[in-house]
């Protein structure tokens, strides 16, 4: 009894005021090398570690026509040999220090990232410059990387979750630059040549569009001197990033794409539509609304699908926000027999949210949830460097982090309702199901046109 009373007291006390104890990014030293490369350095302790990241607007959206996956392919070849070192020598130089190197593409950007003990900051910055500026794309490495990627693309078809994500991209965006997975498709990867990678690196990489971010232990003077030494004479490359066209309505709006994997005892389900591009102010209201819809353990979708009916181990909804466009999708999975039941429940919850938006109480809980957990996003050097890069690359404004929670707290019930109407089922959604088509197809009547594909068509 005494403990129960104490609990009530706690709830009132904490509930009485917003959780806004300071969250700040470290102070940032900002400069440019004489080649025009922007550099951000955030000194940050207490651990003797450092994160180095170079970002370029050369993501999969910049893949040339009929070369889907070339950005990521080029990125993965950067560490397979430079003018100065072989792949083995590069690996040895990085890994001997206890550092790790990652090169890869996302939709909007390509990045080269190194995490290292801070005593090795200088040699790691040299390696970063070397792989970005002087990759040699050895013929043998191009061949073996392509062969390995084709094998991976074949094996990916055995993972129903991966197949569902790829099918959803097709269903939403098709031949828009965001319509293919960053790793590309087997048909097009097969055509990649050394010259393709060389040309991509030459035309898309350059100091004037790049951003170098370093967070961790180190001295600004030092970073500046080394960055100038290794990037100061970097020449060439584009003056500005390619623009990605905005998204048209979802290609399969109101239709269902059923991908046949006859051996499956469980269906993977995706329900998607248009969302919010980066930079839109709607994101604050939309994040809160989505927290109530399918963004947390107590959300409506989890309650309806998992808690009340035990139909799935997981269900969630979310906005994917990119430079030129965004998408919104619900993701879940359930045993073959209950595929339709799960889809209907998702659609019902989406329709309810669209009609009335979140309640005042749901909005309040979502505010506490998102503001309380916000500081978790900046615990490591990689996370801080990533946040600094994101703010710059998407032009979010330097007070983005400091004001983020305040802006969340200002959202009203009316605004949350408005974004629900604007983004949830504004157009009939595209539905993707990956599973046993013979069993699933008969469950889908009345959902609109259904097209069935073999899984091999998604390679």
């Amino acid at each position: 009894m005494r403990r129960a009373a104490a609990a009530r007291r706690v709830s009132r006390r904490v509930g009485a005021r917003p959780l806004l104890k300071g969250v700040h990014l470290p102070e940032v030293d900002e400069f440019q090398t004489s080649s025009g490369l922007k550099v951000l350095f955030a000194e940050r302790g207490p651990l003797p570690l450092v994160a180095l990241q170079l970002w370029l607007p050369a993501g999969s959206a910049a893949d040339p026509k009929r070369k889907d996956g070339l950005a990521d392919f080029t990125a993965s070849l950067l560490r397979r040999g430079t003018r100065k070192r072989t792949a083995d020598e590069l690996n040895e130089a990085v890994e001997f220090c206890g550092a790790s190197l990652a090169c890869g593409a996302e939709e909007d950007f390509l990045s080269v990232r190194i995490n290292a003990p801070s005593e090795h900051l200088r040699p790691m910055l040299e390696i970063l410059a070397e792989v970005v500026r002087w990759p040699s794309f050895p013929r043998k490495e191009v061949e073996s990387t392509r062969t390995r990627l084709l094998a991976q693309l074949a094996n990916d078809l055995d993972d129903p979750g991966v197949v569902a994500e790829r099918a959803l991209l097709r269903a939403l965006w098709d031949d828009h630059p965001y319509g293919h997975d960053v790793v590309g498709t087997a048909k097009q990867v097969r055509t990649f040549t050394r010259q393709d990678a060389v040309a991509f690196q030459r035309s898309r990489f350059g100091p004037r569009v790049g951003l170098l971010v370093i967070a961790g232990q180190g001295e600004a003077r030092d970073v500046k001197a080394v960055a100038e030494r290794v990037f100061g004479d970097w020449e060439g490359g584009p003056d500005r990033a390619l623009a990605t066209p905005p998204l048209q309505p979802p290609v399969l709006s109101g239709r269902t794409l059923l991908v046949d994997k006859p051996e499956q005892t469980q269906s993977q389900i995706r329900i998607g539509g248009r969302g919010i591009p980066r930079g839109s102010e709607d994101i604050f209201a939309a994040s809160l609304m989505n927290t109530a819809l399918g963004g947390s353990f107590t959300s409506r979708l989890v309650e309806a699908i998992r808690v009340k009916r035990g139909l799935s181990y997981g269900v969630s909804s979310g906005f994917e926000r990119l430079m030129a466009a965004g998408s919104f999708a619900v993701s879940t999975f359930t045993k073959t027999e209950t595929t339709r039941a799960a889809i209907d429940l998702c659609l019902l919850e989406l329709a309810k949210m669209r009609r009335k938006g979140p309640s005042a109480e749901e909005l309040d809980v979502a505010k506490r949830y998102l503001t309380g957990l916000f500081p978790l996003r900046f615990e490591t050097n990689e996370a801080v460097a990533g946040a600094l890069a994101e703010i710059r690359l998407y032009g979010l404004g330097d007070d983005w982090v400091e004001r983020y929670r305040e802006r969340l707290l200002q959202v009203t019930v009316e605004e949350a309702r408005r974004v629900a109407r604007k983004y949830i089922l504004a157009e009939p959604p595209a539905i993707v199901v990956v599973g046993n088509a013979a069993q699933v197809k008969k469950q889908l009547s009345g959902l609109g046109p259904v097209s069935v594909r073999e899984v091999s068509q998604l390679q």
Partner: protein, 409 residues
């Protein structure tokens, strides 16, 4: 504390957040045939209502105070964790101590949660090649020890676990003397300890937990299993019996793991992925366990690779580490990476709390997090070779092969 609960607090004022980890010394090794998977199903049930906080309340209260929670179950332990705004620490103690003191298992939520866990099993095992292989390998490697069955349990057992089983399980294993609490973050140690005493102090200790008998007989020859599933490429999972986490060889095997598979320049990545491109990926899982455990290699083949050639290539590499020492540079590289990863693991509150708890449970002391780096430093190339020779014994391995349906029949 007098009731046996271990409490470890670590202050980190860098940001207004904290992590709370509760480790219970119970996992699938404490189960028996017929109720395999109960540890994991039970972990789910811990979120479904206790005496004062009824069904659904745990997450509701926590989320409305700016926190989130999750949990995982392994062969050896069940771990619950929360990330919260620092001001809401007391709420976490209230919620966690309530479910430790008085879990209320209700039939409706047990039935619903059982379905959720079956879906989890369909996701992770039945429709997932690595899950199928892992389950097959466990049953091949162990004849008597409970490591034989998967943590998630056999489907039939999940269906048959009764409420009474869960209640007995709770009384036996969820007492404070079988648990340890780790709190790391923006906290005042004195005030936090007072809160912990207030919320957990009144929970009575339970009886000592029954010991797990290890009757595993010695393996006297290679064991093999072949599975068929609708996949594009074959894959291989190979297991060798290995020592417990507290064994002298444990840290030498950590070094071996790094030399063999961590980084593109590691031995197996270089030879099997890059030089002779036979596989898409290779990994070595050497997870510390309470009882003598396993070293498991997983190889994802290319669609046109032959499992026999890949096995041969792997054995050639393993023979090398059994008969020759790592070079001084390779040894130093492995240690540098181990130390660097140790440090990176301590960058977050959650990482710190989890490290303290795992080391305490598996190695016997949280102080391992302080002295591990220097203990790795002291390991010699000969120790690594000798440990490889002792544990990577061809006659004591088990090999599970997954082949595309229709192949090799």
């Amino acid at each position: 504390m007098p009731n046996g609960l271990k409490v470890r607090l670590l202050s980190n004022r860098a940001a207004p957040i904290a992590s709370v980890y509760t480790f219970f010394k119970v996992g699938s090794r404490n189960e028996r045939p017929g109720i395999t998977g109960i540890s994991h199903l039970f972990e789910h049930m811990m979120f479904n209502g206790s005496k004062r906080y009824g069904p659904k309340q745990f997450d509701r209260v926590l989320e409305s105070h700016g926190g989130r929670s999750n949990a995982y179950t392994s062969h050896d332990m069940t771990v619950y964790h929360e990330e919260v705004a620092a001001e809401a620490l007391e709420v976490v103690f209230d919620l966690e101590s309530d479910r430790m003191a008085s879990l209320a298992i209700n039939d409706t939520s047990l039935e619903s949660e059982r379905e959720v866990v079956k879906e989890e099993r369909r996701l992770r095992v039945d429709n997932e090649p690595t899950g199928l292989l892992d389950e097959e390998l466990g049953a091949l490697m162990w004849k008597a020890h409970p490591y034989r069955w998967p943590v998630i349990g056999w489907m039939g057992d999940i269906e048959n676990i009764a409420r009474e089983d869960c209640e007995r399980y709770f009384r036996t294993y969820y007492a404070p003397n079988n648990a340890a609490l780790y709190v790391v973050g923006d906290l005042d140690p004195g005030r936090t300890l007072a809160l912990v005493r207030r919320y957990y102090g009144g929970i009575p200790p339970g009886p000592p937990t029954p010991p797990v008998v290890n009757s595993e007989p010695e393996q006297r020859g290679e064991r093999r299993a072949v599975l068929h599933h609708a996949v594009h490429a074959p894959s291989l999972m190979l297991g060798y019996h290995a020592p417990s986490a507290r064994d002298e060889d444990t840290l030498a095997l950590d070094v071996l793991q790094y030399a063999l598979t961590v980084g593109d320049g590691s031995r197996l990545a270089r030879s099997l992925v890059f030089e002779r491109p036979l596989v898409v990926g290779v990994s070595m899982d050497w997870s510390w366990r309470t009882d003598p455990g396993a070293i498991v290699f997983y190889l994802e083949l290319k669609p046109d690779s032959r499992p026999q050639s890949v096995e041969k290539a792997l054995y050639d590499e393993l023979d090398k580490v059994r008969s020759h020492r790592l070079s001084p540079r390779e040894l130093a590289k492995a240690k540098n990476n181990l130390k660097s990863h140790l440090l990176q693991g301590l960058a977050t509150n959650s990482g710190k709390a989890h490290a303290l708890g795992s080391y305490e449970l598996l190695r016997g002391s949280w102080r391992s997090s302080l002295d591990l780096a220097s203990r790795y430093e002291a390991i010699s190339a000969e120790q690594v070779r000798a440990a490889s020779e002792r544990h990577l014994v061809p006659e004591k391995r088990s090999v599970a092969t997954l082949l595309p349906s229709g192949a090799g029949r």
